[in-house]
């Protein structure tokens, strides 16, 4: 009686069917929640005239540009602070905690003074947001390396570099992946917000335009694409994680 | 009155296990459902005030049997009678003490001990006197307002015992209660348990995998064999009482009984439960899965 996969598929089908039927029969106001087919039609139309592809690419460039920049800065920073400089880590700990609280949209106004209103300002906003979860997770991952494992590996005559690359990094990989996935989630949330504020392209702008012109199906089509991208990115990172951290499966 | 038509004739029989069997249907994707016989043909009669220990290899139906006794699981066949009446579910005539203490960390020692009384709807004014009594009985006076995280493992287990005794059950069911404490504390707790048993005259069913513990505590030791779980033999422990605060553990008689049980456990090549099957069984009986 227990077919989990069937149940899940059935639940999804019921959900989509309700989305179609409820607005069609006026059970919810189609002005607010248009039926699925109308949203799909709008989506198709946006694909055909090329708008959707353009804005998706712009948004992806910003999101991944920011995430990548955050990784480029965050990994070395985390390695340095988590690896060999405990007093430095102590000294900058609260400062980084404060920086992590600095909402990048608030900083946006300040950043624009320096970088202007172009693409680099938006990438910087995303990068700032992603930097902190990544840095913190690298520090945590390195610091939580099992001391027993280190002792055992050290007794086998592994040098400092060997210890680091062969023991510390692999054992901290799961924590680091968690941080990166968290950062990617943040990146998408804030990207849309920043694109709704004074951008002239991107998926967030598409949605904001839909709102200003009362194109409800556009809002939903845009939101669906944004959600799909977020889910796909998270799925991709999970996939990479499973490939890299093969041994974690055994312990869970 | 204990004149049931099921052979429970004796007046002082407290617990009667009659032909208990437990079968689980394991789900298998390929070949349909498979059956797993966890318990088979379990028969046992326990006198009022008796101390019976169940020993056997780990994970072979002892805990399942205790769950059946507690009324948390219904047996597939057979029945359990207490005072001649068949049990149908959990009730406050049986108290339970588990290995993991299962204390409620958000309650003080006193409020843990009073838990069963709250469920029994005993008025607050009476609860205090009762919990005072049982906290003193297990030797924890002065710790009434402490939280479990402030206690050592041995002290926690004392709280669990006091909690099970507080609502005055006639039967105490204990599932490897001392397995998680260190060896020294364990001996102390065994002494304490015998003293408490002397004072309260409860009927105790005690599951353990330690032969020493079973011999030291029990009047009779039921030896489990596995696959399916059933009693291989029930051994009378004819050692003098009171045994607590004595060095009976080092006596020759103790050694003999111990050796006899050890031989019985070894006599057939040990058939450990298949681990895979066991995990499924645990899932199937876990009460949390049904709530």
């Amino acid at each position: 009686m227990n077919y989990p996969l069937l149940n899940k598929t059935a639940a999804v089908i019921v959900f989509l069917a309700l989305w179609e039927i409820l607005p069609r029969f006026g059970l919810v106001n189609p002005m607010f929640i248009p039926p699925l087919s109308a949203v799909l039609a709008t989506g198709l139309h946006l694909v055909e005239n090329g708008e959707l592809v353009t804005h998706t690419l712009v948004s992806l460039e910003r999101a991944f540009g920011g995430l990548l920049a955050a990784m480029v800065v965050g990994f070395p920073l985390g390695l340095v602070l988590g690896g060999g400089f405990p007093r430095l880590r102590e000294a900058v700990g609260p400062l980084m905690e404060l920086f992590a609280q600095a909402n990048p949209l608030i900083l946006a106004h300040i950043i624009i003074f320096f970088l202007g209103i172009g693409q680099s300002a938006r990438i910087f906003i995303i990068a700032w947001l992603c930097l902190w979860p990544i840095t913190f997770s690298v520090i945590d991952g390195i610091r939580s390396a099992d001391p027993l494992l280190l002792k055992a590996a050290g007794s086998l005559g592994l040098g400092r570099v060997g210890l680091f690359t062969r023991v510390v990094l692999p054992s901290s990989a799961p924590t680091i992946f968690t941080g990166v996935r968290l950062a990617a989630g943040y990146a998408f949330i804030m990207l849309i917000a920043s694109e709704m504020m004074g951008a002239s392209s991107g998926l967030g702008w598409l949605v904001a335009q839909g709102q200003e012109n009362y194109h409800v199906t556009r809002i939903f089509a845009g939101a669906a694409v944004i959600t799909t991208l977020a889910v796909a990115t998270d799925g991709l990172l999970r996939l990479v994680e499973r490939r890299v951290v093969v041994w974690k499966v055994n312990t869970e | 009155m204990a004149t049931h038509g099921d052979g429970t004739h004796k007046e002082d029989l407290k617990i009667v296990l009659k032909d208990i069997g437990q079968v689980y249907h394991l789900k298998k994707s390929a070949d349909g459902s498979r059956e797993f016989q966890a318990l088979k043909d379990i028969n046992l009669q326990v006198r009022a005030g008796e101390f019976v220990a169940l020993v056997g290899p780990s994970g072979c139906g002892k805990s399942t049997l205790l769950d059946i006794l507690a009324g948390l699981t219904r047996p597939s066949s057979g029945a359990v009678y207490i005072d001649g009446k068949e049990i149908t579910g959990p009730a406050l005539d049986r108290g339970i003490v588990l290995q993991g203490y299962a204390l409620f960390p958000w309650r003080t020692v006193r409020r843990n001990v009073e838990f069963g009384l709250e469920i029994k709807k005993v008025p607050k004014s009476e609860r205090r006197g009762i919990s005072d009594h049982f906290i003193r009985l297990v030797g924890l006076e002065g710790f009434e307002e402490h939280y479990p995280h402030e206690l050592s493992g041995g002290m926690k287990q004392r709280v669990a015992i006091a909690r099970a005794l507080a609502y005055d059950p006639e039967v105490l069911l204990m599932d490897e209660p001392f397995a998680a404490v260190d060896a020294q504390t364990r001996e102390t707790l065994q002494d304490e348990l015998l003293r408490i048993w002397d004072e309260t005259k409860k009927t105790i069913i005690f599951v353990t995998h330690s032969i020493d513990e079973a011999v030291f505590l029990a009047d009779r030791v039921a030896i489990f064999s596995s696959n399916p779980g059933t009693f291989r033999e029930i051994v009378e422990v004819d050692l003098p009482r009171p045994r607590h605060n004595s060095d009976i553990r080092s006596s020759a008689e103790f050694g003999w009984v111990r050796h006899r049980i050890w031989e019985l456990l070894q006599s057939r090549p040990s058939q450990e439960c298949r681990e895979g099957g066991n995990i499924v069984v645990k899932d199937a009986i876990s009460p949390s899965a049904t709530i």
Binding site: V12, A193 | L103, W106, P287, S288
Partner: protein, 323 residues
């Protein structure tokens, strides 16, 4: 508690980074290393914050933002906890079937929903509270599901063996046992809430801390931007620390409840606050919701009586001024 030399040294070390940063912020504009028009020295920003504090601006926007955050979080808890309980313990099969949908819904971007909420609820407070609740609903719900499912089975067996009623089992065992994990969900939700709320207030609002910063930027009141931003950062920091503290205390007591052998902890090391404290906290939240709500609607009415730039829902960031 006495401050020993060691802990004082530690304290100084920990905050030295912040001190150096603030010193640089003060000195760099003063020595014209960076343009003091765009980055005013820290003391100027502090003075501006003092002015806003005295004339009540800061307090007013703080009340509005806090009220929205608390109302949103409360809504999320009121929906997420009961649903999480049901899906976690009663409707396990339903939860498994719904999991893909719940996962996707939790990834739906709150800002892409903002226009829908605005259409639904109008420009008032409801849309903002709805966005905030949407964001914190998912962590609260998923942590509640996990928490109720992972209650120590031995605790449940013990309670069941006493013939406990289903209601009592939920109220006296499952709920308290699940509390620390549920609280973690609330903390995660609250952290996100604050981030999103400030952004939402910049997008379409006439009051609140996010609006304060946004409006200052629109009017080129640069020290005000920094003062507002600093205030938001410090507030978020303190909020995060407070919630972490409560969470650690809860889980410190809870985790030791089962299956830990070892010596007794120091007596009275971590006591739970009595029921009086919880009741007082709950009362304070309710009073804040009621009176804060009255205050917020008054502030909104006042803001509406003189139309301003900020009433445009999607304000645009001004071009940088010419140097």
């Amino acid at each position: 508690m006495s401050v020993t030399g060691e802990s004082l040294r530690r304290f100084l070390l920990r905050w030295s980074g912040v001190a150096v940063f603030l010193a640089a912020w003060e000195v760099a504009p003063r020595l014209d290393w960076i343009d003091p028009y765009f980055v005013p020295p820290f003391s100027t920003v502090l003075r501006e914050a003092g002015v806003m504090f005295r004339d009540g601006t800061l307090g007013m926007h703080l009340v509005v933002s806090l009220w929205r955050a608390v109302a949103g979080l409360l809504t999320a808890i009121l929906i997420g906890m009961p649903v999480g309980f049901l899906l976690g313990r009663r409707l396990v099969g339903v939860e498994q079937a719904l999991r893909p949908i719940l996962t996707v819904l939790s990834q739906v971007n709150p800002f892409s929903l903002l226009p829908v909420f605005l259409l639904f609820f109008g420009i008032g407070e409801t849309a903002k509270v709805a966005v905030v609740s949407w964001v914190s609903l998912w962590p609260v719900m998923s942590f509640t599901i996990t928490a109720t499912r992972n209650v120590d089975p031995a605790q449940i067996r013990t309670a069941l063996s006493m013939g406990i009623s289903r209601l009592d089992l939920y109220c006296k065992v499952v709920l308290p046992a699940a509390l620390p994990t549920i609280f973690t969900g609330m903390r995660v939700g609250a952290g996100l809430t604050f981030l999103i709320l400030v952004a939402a207030e910049m997008l379409g609002s006439s009051a609140g801390l996010g609006y304060l910063v946004h409006n200052s930027a629109m009017n080129y009141l640069i020290p005000r931007i920094y003062a507002g931003a600093t205030f938001i950062v410090v507030l978020g920091f303190l909020l995060n620390r407070l919630l972490l503290h409560v969470e650690r205390r809860l889980s410190g007591v809870w985790e030791a409840g089962a299956f830990v052998t070892g010596p007794a902890g120091p007596a009275g090391a971590a006591r739970l606050p009595g029921p009086a404290v919880s009741v007082a906290a709950l009362g304070a939240v309710l009073i804040f919701i009621v009176f804060g709500g009255l205050e917020v609607s008054r502030i909104n009415r006042e803001a509406a009586s003189y139309p301003s730039e900020a009433l445009k829902h999607f304000g645009h960031i001004g071009q940088p001024v010419d140097r």
